[in-house]
């Protein structure tokens, strides 16, 4: 009777994603869930810096660096999925994080979207990051926003 659910979880390097993932596993997961981990690697900072740099090698380095971190991230979560015997795959999506995540979730036919409240962004002047805020307001499916307790005082 239970139809197959597609759970989309947005991930990045931050501990907030990890918490969101763990929360899903502990409290939301149901047998048969198909999990899609979506990661939006950040290349925009490289592209904006490129106007200042004239050396293409530096840009190539930065891109390689981002790719390495991305593959580390993919490994980390793939391992976690294997450990818990979860079914699913990892996707990389291009574009602005909020839009890219929703694009991916829509394509996958998400039953729900799960994210942390913050990511790697350095702006900590709000209760919640801009990506989770965007997703919450523009998603057409239920969204689970996971606030990590120790971080509530992060202003």
């Amino acid at each position: 009777m239970e139809s197959k659910r597609t759970i989309v979880i947005a991930i990045d390097d931050s501990v907030h994603s990890e918490f969101a993932f763990d929360f899903y596993v502990d409290n939301v997961h149901r047998h048969g869930d198909h999990i899609v981990l979506v990661h939006v690697p950040e290349y925009s900072n490289i592209l904006s810096a490129s106007s200042l740099l004239t050396d293409p090698n530096i840009i190539a380095e930065m891109i390689k660096d981002t790719e390495e971190r991305t593959s580390e991230l993919v490994d980390k979560y793939s391992f976690k999925m294997q450990q818990k015997q979860l079914h699913g795959h990892v996707r990389q999506q291009c574009g602005k994080p909020g839009e890219a995540i929703l694009e991916c979730a829509r394509e996958e036919g998400a039953t729900m979207l799960i994210l942390g409240t913050r990511g790697m962004g350095l702006m900590r002047r709000t209760f919640m990051g801009s990506v989770s805020d965007y997703c919450l307001h523009h998603a057409s499916f239920p969204v689970l926003v996971c606030r990590h307790k120790p971080f509530i005082n992060d202003k």
Binding site: R5, A20, F23, V25, D26, N27, V28, H29, H31, P41, Y43, A60, I63, K64, E67, E68, T70, S71, V74, D75, S78, M81, Q82, Q83, K84, Q85, L86, H87, G88, H89, V90, R91, Q92, Q93, C94, T111, M112, F127, M128, L136, H137, H138, A139, S140, F141, P142, V143, L144, V145, C146, R147, K149, I152
Partner: protein
């Protein structure tokens, strides 16, 4: 493990590969090494404490039904919280009119309305066979819900995205907005199907 690792790295396309919409397939391997056999039991779940914000609107009812179908675990402790805020339904101008009988009638009506809402909520929970606790909160809805979640040690809050409030700011109700920004625990926002149409 190393073979798997290099396989994965290859798929990620290290070394200048394009990344647009690239999918890295990683299916759960049917071959499981013996040491992971220890973690064999499916992710162990004990019940969680869930606070469901109910204002009686179709959005809240939808959120509850969604919870019942998708998140409910038989060991969950479900708290269905209703914040009966008279200010929402009784415009302050009528209070200023100063007619005690009228005010009394309005308060009585309001109480009746609250009781009806609780009955609806109760029936809905029974329909899904979910053992639950009904709780009445006071004060501004957003604050009351977040406080209740805190005092009841809720593991998560479930809310619809719009309710009966008179403020209809943007695409998400002000109460659900408040909850998401001030909750100390994960919040599940369930959007009623009507909302999806508006977003197109």
């Amino acid at each position: 493990m190393s073979g798997f690792l290099s396989n994965l790295l290859g798929k990620v396309g290290l070394g200048g590969g394009h990344t647009s919409g690239q999918t890295v397939e990683q299916t759960a391997a049917p071959v499981i090494q013996t040491d992971t056999q220890m973690a064999e039991e499916s992710p162990k779940k004990t019940g969680k404490n869930v606070l469901i914000a109910m204002d009686g609107s179709k959005h809240a009812l939808y959120a509850f039904e969604w919870y019942a179908k998708n998140l409910y675990h038989p060991d969950d402790n479900v708290i269905m919280a209703h914040c009966a805020e008279p200010g929402v339904n009784i415009p302050p101008t009528t209070l200023m009119a100063g007619n005690p009988t009228m005010i009394q009638t309005m308060m009585k009506d309001h109480e009746q309305h609250v009781m009806d809402t609780f009955k609806t909520i109760d029936q809905l929970a029974k329909k899904y066979n979910i053992k639950h606790v009904l709780e009445r909160l006071h004060g501004p809805p957003g604050e009351a819900i977040v406080k209740a979640a805190d005092s009841q040690n809720a593991d998560m809050i479930v809310a619809g995205s719009r309710g009966f409030g008179t403020l209809r700011r943007t695409i998400m109700g002000s109460v659900s907005d408040y909850i998401v920004h001030h909750s100390k625990v994960p919040v599940m926002i369930c959007k009623h199907d009507d909302e999806h149409v508006k977003l197109k």
